[in-house]
């Protein structure tokens, strides 16, 4: 078959060069592909989680949802025994009405004090003018010194009574407690009533977002303390993937770039995503140096190390998932980012706006 050794040698050299050349080209192509499309198999599906906790304490009377149920924003989740808070609200309302009567009485008191003040001012004016009229008559002996002195005493006494009445008016106004047309006593009582009414309304707990009830393991009768989490609500408005990329890949990844997400739960399907952000910090583990400010001075502690293989730190890049899907928080995923894609701020803003919707629980008089 290979009778001509010269020809055979030529073939061998050509094949060798083909193999070496192919290897070089292929290795370069692989490297370039990984540069343009950085990928990681270390990624996890996440969603925002709302810890559902009542704002007031009380026994749970009704639970309107079941575990793993899908709920809509504003749906009633569970109810607490509102009777103690309703009693407090009635008490606060009665208190407000009493304060209203008190305020009316104080206003009448002021009116009475002002009337007394007016009367005393009139008397003081008369006493003063009487004294002023008598005083010149003393020189011509048309009146006695005793009458003049009595008139002077009457005038001074009347002025003292005016000051007393003025103080009484001021005292009554202070007691009323009005500033800039607002009555502080009424405001205080109204705020107490509002607080009581809010507490009554807080006995009904509503879903703050569209989502799924998770880890609901309680039954009616359970005592729920204020602020203590009863169960979790997985916010289904926005799903995202935390893809742990090596720090060496991060300089090419930019917010707004497209990403392909391969979910382990949905083999053979590609979910499109968009890079939202790259964290500025992760907790440093296994670092050679450790700064302990305030500890042993503010010097870094540098321990001797013999690790010669250094692993690149991974940073969780946040990738928002687009479209509806049967996503599950904690599911594994692999991610490829397309660094050629142009950043699309509009798409990103639209997704982020879903995440930043506010929620205030419904309350009376809102």
């Amino acid at each position: 078959m290979n009778s001509d050794p010269k020809k055979n040698s030529f073939r061998v050299w050509v094949l060798r060069l083909v193999i070496i050349g192919t290897a070089a080209v292929v290795v370069f192509a692989v490297w370039q592909n990984l540069q343009i499309f950085p990928r990681t198999e270390d990624a996890e599906v996440r969603a925002n989680v709302v810890g559902v906790a009542p704002q007031v304490g009380g026994s749970i009377t009704r639970i309107h949802v079941t575990d793993n149920q899908a709920v809509k924003r504003g749906d009633l989740l569970f109810e607490l025994d509102a009777r103690p808070y309703e009693a407090s609200a009635v008490q606060a309302k009665a208190h407000l009405e009493l304060i209203g009567l008190d305020v009316k009485a104080l206003r009448d008191e002021i009116a009475a004090a002002e009337a007394i003040l007016r009367e005393r001012r009139a008397k003081a004016d008369y006493a003063d003018s009487h004294y002023q009229r008598l005083k010149p008559l003393l020189a011509g002996n048309f009146t006695s010194p005793d009458r003049v002195q009595r008139a002077q005493t009457d005038a001074e006494s009347a002025r003292a009574l005016v000051r007393e009445a003025e103080a009484a008016v001021e005292r009554a106004r202070n007691k009323l407690g009005e500033f800039d047309g607002r009555n502080t006593r009424v405001e205080q009582a109204a705020a107490a009533l509002r607080d009581s009414e809010l507490k009554v309304s807080y006995c009904k707990i509503y879903a703050p977002c569209d989502g799924y009830v998770t880890n609901l393991q309680i039954a009616p009768g359970t005592y729920a303390s204020a602020g203590e989490q009863i169960f979790s609500l997985v916010d289904s408005s926005v799903w995202f993937v935390l893809a742990n990329f090596r720090e060496t890949d991060l300089r090419r990844i930019q917010p707004g770039q497209s990403a392909r997400v391969y979910l382990m739960a949905q083999r053979g399907k590609v979910v499109s995503g968009i890079v939202q952000g790259i964290p500025k910090a992760v907790y440093p583990l296994g670092t050679a140096s450790k700064a302990t400010p305030g500890g042993e001075g503010v010097f870094s502690q540098v321990k001797p190390t013999f690790d010669f293989v250094q692993l690149a730190q991974r940073f969780p890049v946040r990738i928002l998932l687009e479209g509806e899907g049967d996503f599950r928080m904690g599911g594994r995923a692999a991610v490829i980012v397309d660094t050629r894609s142009v950043s699309d701020a509009g798409r990103l803003e639209k997704l982020q706006s879903l995440e930043q919707r506010g929620f205030t629980p419904p309350a009376p008089n809102d």
Binding site: N2, V270, I336
Partner: protein, 86 residues
């Protein structure tokens, strides 16, 4: 045996998978590069056998250079066809 250069992209598109970077082996998921390395190692062995059968064993000498090159070419080739992103 020879595929026309014009038909190559169509053939690649046919055999190309979804590009999923994970390979399912009986419920355990392995990174694509591991599968490619196994394929590369098998390919290197088969091609070595084939070359020695047709009397071209000398192509893979010096083995310290030629075997790694063949292995790299096959591994990378499999990766590019099945797992590269486009």
């Amino acid at each position: 045996m020879n595929i026309g250069a014009a038909k190559l992209p169509a053939v690649l598109a046919l055999i190309k998978s979804s590009g999923d970077p994970l390979v399912d082996v009986a419920g355990a998921y392995f990174p694509a590069w591991l599968a490619c390395m196994i394929a590369g190692a098998l390919g290197t062995w088969l091609l070595g056998e084939f070359l020695s059968r047709v009397g071209l064993a000398a192509v893979l000498r010096p083995s310290a250079i030629m075997y790694p090159c063949l292995f790299a070419a096959l591994t990378g080739g499999v990766w590019l066809v099945f797992f590269s992103a486009r």
